[in-house]
């Protein structure tokens, strides 16, 4: 704790120290277990030969030494698979690589040739229209960095400490740059009848997945996305076309989008009645809880990692809020007794992940690490106890509670739920 206080006595000092790279590191070197080596360096074999050739392979892959950094299924995997999770504990910054974006499918991944894909817009419009991908990609476009979170992220923890790693617990979160056409642009092409208030979005997959979406959201910031992090969508992210609804439950961003129908009321589809509704203690369920709420999680160090020695560690993690921007993230190393403000990595963007960092010197004693995010609307990330009290452990969806990581004296980090 004394180390903590030294490091974060004043926020100004902290920021200045990190910015110039002095002070903090100077204070830590005496305490860190730097490698003492008596060996003399030899020239490495890879330095004494030509390396591998170009375009090997043409579409580049991660280093073979990173082969453990992959999406993972729940263990044990259910008979009907529902989701794979992003290895957030192995990622840096805020962008999720396309090959690591979590998956949630309701009938697997369809194989769609973009030349054969089309989008129909009909219902309460002046002119029902059909659009080819060639049409859609000629419209005025935009690129935005947004987070996407499955509303079932972290669900199992509501009842008990159910999993071990950040990936297993919170891996249904990602953040990408999405490129496409504003839904408002396309709807304008068809003309919106004045009585329209809701839009049904439908996928071309084997679930013909549907959700009802308020027209106001569609006209606000919704995108018909065809690209992700600079390349066309991955098949599992809806290739060749998906809806993207910033800040809303991930399932509403319908993939393999084939149809938009304008109407006057929600359709009460299976995915907005029997699923994705939030059951309360009294047996009533909240419906149309669209926005994903303020949340953060420490990703380094996190569950199943091991601190090798006492000394300096950068506590780092991700924060996000469907309400807008993250205003502040606080970190506690004493199970929530005291909190210190973390540094937010600029740019802090609307409805995007933000990376937070906090310098910490581990003194070798047991500790409990937590992060707590506050957004620009003033919402504060709740403790699990507070969340269960207001939402109920039966809610299943929308768990945005604080995640504690327990650090044992031997350095092992475990789920502190």
């Amino acid at each position: 704790m004394s180390n903590d206080k030294t490091l974060t006595k004043r926020r100004g000092f902290l920021k200045a120290s990190l910015a110039v790279g002095t002070g903090v590191s100077g204070a830590l070197t005496s305490n860190s277990a730097s490698a003492q080596s008596n060996t003399f360096l030899e020239i490495d074999p890879w330095t004494k030969t030509q390396g591998a050739t170009f375009v090997n392979p043409p579409y580049g892959l991660p280093s073979k030494y990173e082969k453990e950094v992959v999406r993972r299924l729940p263990n044990p995997a259910p008979i009907f698979l529902t989701a794979s999770r992003t290895p957030i504990q192995n990622l840096h910054g805020i962008i999720t690589p396309n090959g690591l974006h979590f998956e949630r499918h309701h009938a697997g991944v369809p194989d769609i040739n973009p030349d054969q894909h089309r989008l129909v817009v009909h219902g309460l419009v002046d002119r029902p229209m059909i659009f080819s991908m060639e049409n859609i990609m000629r419209f005025p476009s935009e690129s935005k960095i947004y987070f996407m979170e499955c509303s079932g992220n972290s669900a199992a923890e509501l009842k008990r400490s159910a999993n071990n790693t950040a990936q297993q617990i919170h891996g249904l979160i990602s953040c990408c740059e999405w490129t496409g056409v504003r839904v408002s642009t396309l709807l304008q092409e068809c003309g919106i009848k004045p009585q329209a208030t809701w839009v049904l979005a439908e996928g071309a997959d084997g679930a013909a997945m549907t959700r009802s979406i308020p027209l106001s959201k569609m006209l606000d910031d919704a995108i018909l996305a065809y690209a992700q992090n600079g390349e066309m969508l991955r098949a599992e992210q809806g290739y060749p076309l998906r809806l993207f609804l910033p800040s809303y439950e991930g399932n509403m961003s319908i993939k393999w989008l084939r149809r938009l129908k304008l109407g006057t009321e929600p359709w009460q589809t299976r995915e907005e009645t029997s699923a994705y509704t939030d059951l309360r203690e009294n047996g009533k369920a909240l419906q149309f809880t669209f926005k994903m709420e303020v949340k953060s999680v420490i990703t380094q160090p996190s569950g199943m990692m091991k601190l090798k020695s006492k000394g300096f560690y950068e506590i780092s993690g991700i924060a996000w809020s469907g309400n807008g921007k993250i205003r502040r993230v606080e970190v506690s190393t004493d199970a929530g007794k005291t909190w210190q403000e973390a540094m937010l990595q600029e740019p802090v963007m609307d409805k995007s992940l933000v990376r937070f960092r906090y310098p910490w010197v581990w003194d070798g004693a047991p500790a409990v690490l937590m992060s707590r995010a506050v957004d620009t609307s003033g919402d504060v990330q709740p403790t699990m106890e507070a969340l269960i009290k207001t939402k109920s452990a039966n809610t299943f969806y929308h768990n945005n509670a604080i995640q504690p990581w327990r650090v044992a004296a031997n350095g092992e980090v475990t789920n502190g739920r």
Binding site: H106, M129, P140, E189, G206, W267, Q268, S274, T289, N394
Partner: protein, 178 residues
Amino acid sequence: MDAKYYYRSSGLFAIIGLLVACSNTPYVTGKVGLGTPISEGQIQKWNIDVGPSGAGLPVGSGSVAAGEILFQQVCANCHGDKGQGVLSNRLVGGGGLNTGSPVKTVGSYWPYATTIFDYIKRAMPHHSPQSLSDDQVYASTAYILYMNKIIDKNAVMDAKTLPLVKMPNRDGFIPIMR
């Protein structure tokens, strides 16, 4: 094809209200002349959604008896011969929802009978979605409702009767809309 689009859109482009430099507003406003008109008749095979008032329900009908035969042949393998759930979701029973471990089924949780038709028609059976006839979808819907003791053994479901079925948990949802 390309040339046609080019001339059409270049003609329209002249009348577009242009370039608003606000990050939350598209930078081009007005029509650009892309896409092709389509009639509701052409969309028919895709236009399968059913609303809570019954809007979109097709002609056809299905009885509990016909549904039982179909269910045992096509659905029971995953959902169990009594809808008790085997490989996939339980459809029947479940009881009250205000307990420590609520069981959500069609009978205990689903607020609208129309949703059963909509979902079976678009997504079931799991191994061959959108393969059932409308009569078969009505029949399997009827049988699931019957197993949940919501409709009578002699009931027949069609576009008129299905929207009138009141589900036990019809009033169990509070819309939040945010």
